[in-house]
Symmetry: C2
Subunit: 417 residues, 2 copies
């Protein structure tokens, strides 16, 4: 017997037939003797409709009212799944954020979970009742409904798993796990049976769109074993009933990963733009003069490269910003021109960030050098580099994205045999 949290997203509950399919997944786990809580998103399309209405009502809407409106989507699904479960003989009831309660801070629209009271749920689950929890929502200190922003149902699931001490949090999604890279680019990418929290965090924030970054962070902090698996399989397929580890990817502590590899995955992102300031005075205080105004404008700067100046006086400064903030960044820098004293701004949105990720890098030298050499061998110019203990990111021309990903995927032996 285990205690499980199962999470199903919008496409998995898009209509009553799909909800019935979800109910069968839940029944399989109940029949296997598990205690189960299920977290559901709004039916696909519902949240968009609700958001559209709030925008039509006012472009500058009160976030508290926005939350009241959009939280209705998950409320509807939770009731419908409870009804569907009861219909196939599974004892179940719905729980809204304020009923559990899932307490959040007061940042309506992008609220963060402060505390979940797990006691009532644990009691009911112990009595064999499935808890169907409306995802994405909680209750703020002002006694009003709060929501977590997009992807918030993943966060609900992981936080709930921590609160009820679940053995595993199963994220059912439209893919069957986390791959060594994007299978649309590399046909022989492999599904990883296991990946460490830290690696998944890099994969998630670098563009592998399987799980929200916040939910991975939360899983890591609370040690929630999180399992990414497909909701599109037959719920009663034999391999789901008997296997010790069904098809999917387990995100877990690195200690649980027996066969560690140096590099586990290659990620890429086209969501950043490059900005270069030419011929900047190479003196103390210049970096602050550039990056403080950007920070004040709430623009996240990612990769930063400053060349060493040849004559000790003028240098080039290159960095990346989110592509959505590209124009605004240039305006901010124009405003800071006098304070910084640069000669020209150059920018490009036609860039891609390629990242090599692996917890094994920490103890293996030369991983970065191999990457640089391999890309050079393909004639790919590297515009900027950043590294951390477990990843190397390289900024290149966007047109080389696929070639670079394939080259690195082969280089580190990730191709499926």
């Amino acid at each position: 017997m285990a205690r499980l949290v199962m999470k199903f997203g919008g496409t998995s509950v898009a209509d009553i037939d799909r909800i019935r399919n979800v109910a069968r997944h839940v029944k399989r786990e109940v029949d296997a003797g598990n205690q189960v809580a299920v977290v559901v998103s709004a039916m696909a399309g519902t949240t968009n409709q609700l958001v559209e209405w709030t925008r039509a009502a006012s472009l500058l809407h009160d976030a508290r009212e926005y939350d009241t409106v959009v939280a209705a989507g998950e409320q509807i699904t939770s009731g419908l799944l409870a009804i569907t479960l009861q219909d196939i003989g599974v004892n179940a009831r719905s729980w809204l954020g304020w009923q559990i309660p899932i307490r959040t801070d007061s940042a309506h629209g992008v609220a963060r979970i402060a505390d979940i009271e797990g006691a009532k749920l644990i009691e009911r689950m112990g009595q064999g009742q499935v808890a169907v929890v409306a995802g994405f929502q909680g209750i703020a200190p002002d006694n009003r409904v709060s929501t977590f922003g997009r992807g918030g149902s993943d966060t609900t699931a992981v936080a709930l798993a921590a609160a009820v001490g679940a053995d595993r949090c199963d994220i059912y999604t439209d893919v069957d796990g986390v791959y060594t890279t994007d299978p649309r680019i590399v046909a022989n990418a492999r599904r990883m049976p296991r990946i460490a929290y830290e690696e998944m965090l890099e994969m998630a924030s670098l563009g592998a769109k399987v799980l929200q970054v916040r939910s991975v962070e939360m899983a890591m902090v609370h040690g929630v074993r999180t399992f990414v698996r497909s909701s599109f399989t037959d719920p009663d397929a034999p391999e789901l009933k008997n296997a010790a580890e069904p098809p999917g990817t387990l995100i877990c502590d690195e200690d649980e990963i027996v066969e560690k590899q140096v590099v586990t995955g290659i990620a890429y992102s086209k969501d950043e733009a490059q900005i270069s300031l030419r011929r900047v005075a190479d003196k103390p205080g210049v970096a602050a003069a550039v990056f403080m105004p950007l920070a004040e404008a709430n623009i996240n700067v990612d990769m930063i490269v400053q060349n060493i100046s040849e004559d000790g006086s003028l240098t080039d400064l290159t960095f990346t910003v989110p592509i959505a903030d590209f124009d605004r960044s240039q305006q901010v820098l124009e405003g800071a021109r006098e304070a910084v004293g640069y000669q020209a701004i150059q920018g490009s949105t036609d860039v891609a960030k390629i990242s090599v990720i692996g917890i094994g890098m920490r103890s293996h030298a030369g991983v970065a050098a191999q990457a640089f050499e391999a890309l050079a061998g393909r004639g790919i110019n590297i515009r900027a580099i950043t590294t951390s203990e477990i990843k190397i990111s390289m900024l290149i021309d966007a047109s080389y994205t696929e070639l670079a990903v394939r080259t690195l995927h082969s280089l580190y032996g990730l191709d499926r045999n």
Copy 2:
């Protein structure tokens, strides 16, 4: 300055444009210096969609889950109207049933209001903030959402008006008031400026579909002056801004009605069916043998007529039941055949109940006799009669409905000049 509750139904909030129109009605009252609470229904069509989903999920669904699903409709409207009000500069916030709270009994799906805490709303309204209240819902003793059944938003509005001590409860609807009879039948029916609670109760339960019976009962018990008016007028029309009493019908205590009439309205209903038991033994206990099984089957019997038997042994017993229960009633009576000892069951769904209503009848003799004579003069046969202090109801062949209504409407001087 007055304290007002305003209520808008589903067609009045059917889309964002209509909600914007509602916001302008609210703004007019706020600008006039009033303290305002608004009760809203779900957007037209939403509740039907939600109910359909619960039925598709399971024919025998848990009423608590049904409530969780369908209450989302009013939740959405309350948030959207609050946003729209803020957009035109009106301070407003939404309130869900559990936030106020509106406490109900535990009869999920058809819950009754037990208690409303008005203090928080009164405080906010006193600070100039409009309270936008989701209609049709409350919180049951089990801490779960409860709903009131169809038309429940009227009940919310009247109960809320009582709880906050409102000077008036304005029910905005698709008609501009209560008429002396159905204007589709009598072209020169008149809108009544005022009608007593007791009269409206008879009008409502007899087929004038303006207001839910329960909300009128509640208005009478708590003395809530309830004003039926149109939501389709221009919110900024001059006659709405300046008139002491804008166009509509005020449902109030009879003391407030200066010019009392003997008869105020003619109602009709085709929702009942007639059943006659032929040649029933005329002895004590027979009525109980007939009506107890019907009561046990939860069938409401309305008009009852028992002829006096000529020879003191056998008689005919005629009564009406809701048309939806017609077949079931006959089955129940077949089962009771031996105990009752009747010779034959006859029934007809092709009947109409015509009612003459007026609080002035209490002090005027001969009102009923006039009606019988007038219908006889038109060759209309009366199958059954029931009377109360303030109404006379007559069961006739359905084909004479329009003729009977017109005849009585003229008879009592209700035609518009």
